[in-house]
Point group: C2
Chain length 266, copies 2
Amino acid sequence: MTRDETSPQHPYELFYWPSIQGRGEFIRLAFEAAGAPYVDVARLPEAKGGGARAIMALLPGGAAWTGAFAPPILRVGDLVLSQTVNILSFLAPRLGLVPRDEASRARALQISLTLADLVTEAHDTHHPIATGLYYEDQRPEAHRRAAHFVGTRLRKFLLYFERLLETNTESGGEHLVGLELSYVDLSLFQTLTGLAYAFPKAMAAFEAQIPLSIALRDRVAALPRVAAYIASERRPPFNESGIFRRYPELDLDPATALEAAGEKSK
Amino acid sequence: MTRDETSPQHPYELFYWPSIQGRGEFIRLAFEAAGAPYVDVARLPEAKGGGARAIMALLPGGAAWTGAFAPPILRVGDLVLSQTVNILSFLAPRLGLVPRDEASRARALQISLTLADLVTEAHDTHHPIATGLYYEDQRPEAHRRAAHFVGTRLRKFLLYFERLLETNTESGGEHLVGLELSYVDLSLFQTLTGLAYAFPKAMAAFEAQIPLSIALRDRVAALPRVAAYIASERRPPFNESGIFRRYPELDLDPATALEAAGEKSK
């Protein structure tokens, strides 16, 4: 796939919480992997227009609001876009991160949305009742939800993405869409990396069942631009404020998670 | 916005559970509002290739699987697409249900994704722990989640969509995107209608705060094709197997929901 080498007339400006990877990380990775210049606005000092204040101005009630519900938000000149998958789908052809034909772009969006569903379910293991509460206010419910996530949902999702790789034989099982690296490959890398942070025991149990996915994850991590990014201070560390959180009590053994929690499946 | 009047070479085939509205209903509504011919395959008798069996064949492990994770699934000739918002985004320009320019299409996708987030949160009020369990297996957790949904999240979403209408002044506050009916307007209609089924008390409390949204909902319901569809047997009724379920114990008064449930917000 070819990349549009003309520089955008306006720089890409990303607005996302500066101290977490979260959903913004899927977009940072696309810029970084493509070697595209972008400004991670909220990571700038407040004196230079950065900080969380820059994000708040674009949210409902903010002085510069134009339609976003939540970050991440992308600004390119007058155009302001939000919703992670929407931003990725908009950027991908500009960054050479998706095949050009409509069918491939729709397939990439489809897989990207399914990854987003998995990410939401991973998030909800620590926030099953309300995002407006702390984890500590919903621990028993989190334990139940995590048992079902690790015991049934996670396997279903992981085997699904593995099967997509297996059946993309023209790419030798190396890419989710088409024959080259796409934003969906980057998003699978990020999702698998986050899951391994949050659920190291569970993910270790699954690794042998998803060899193509693990190989893709490791190939992406080794791409020179991605490796340089991961080693840099531009990538916020995983922590217990983001989507993927390491709470050892939620990292259950997939084989016994439901039973150990006294749960059944209908 | 103009519609591509050439008939597709292949008929549109929708695969979705035949007895519920669910996420498939957002796609049925787009076809119906546009007057576009489509086959709701699983509603055909099994002898004619219908029934749930037709869907299962396209799901992981099925004989005709080509990449779907879950229904709804759209087939157009050799092209098979899944994920509700992806299908809508693909169909909309073909059905004359989105402006042609890229910025408007991205904005429509953005709003559509935010509606999908609201729909997922509405679903999770009755399934906060696991989709693999019955509601009856997670009633206390459902009550907690519903208190936060009705008490904080629902208001935030509803006021957000209202504000989008208010600020689309060129449309007189009548459309979410552009100057004419789009698939996003149809999706807002469906979401508000489903919410009013599931949470009649809560939605009645909000109606006065979202006059443009209610007016849009009622205008869509009165469109001749949509009115005919709603009156027909093609539209499955709301019921307690779909996304929007009427469980009176979850239909809390927004003003007191958190307090009554003994909940706080951080």
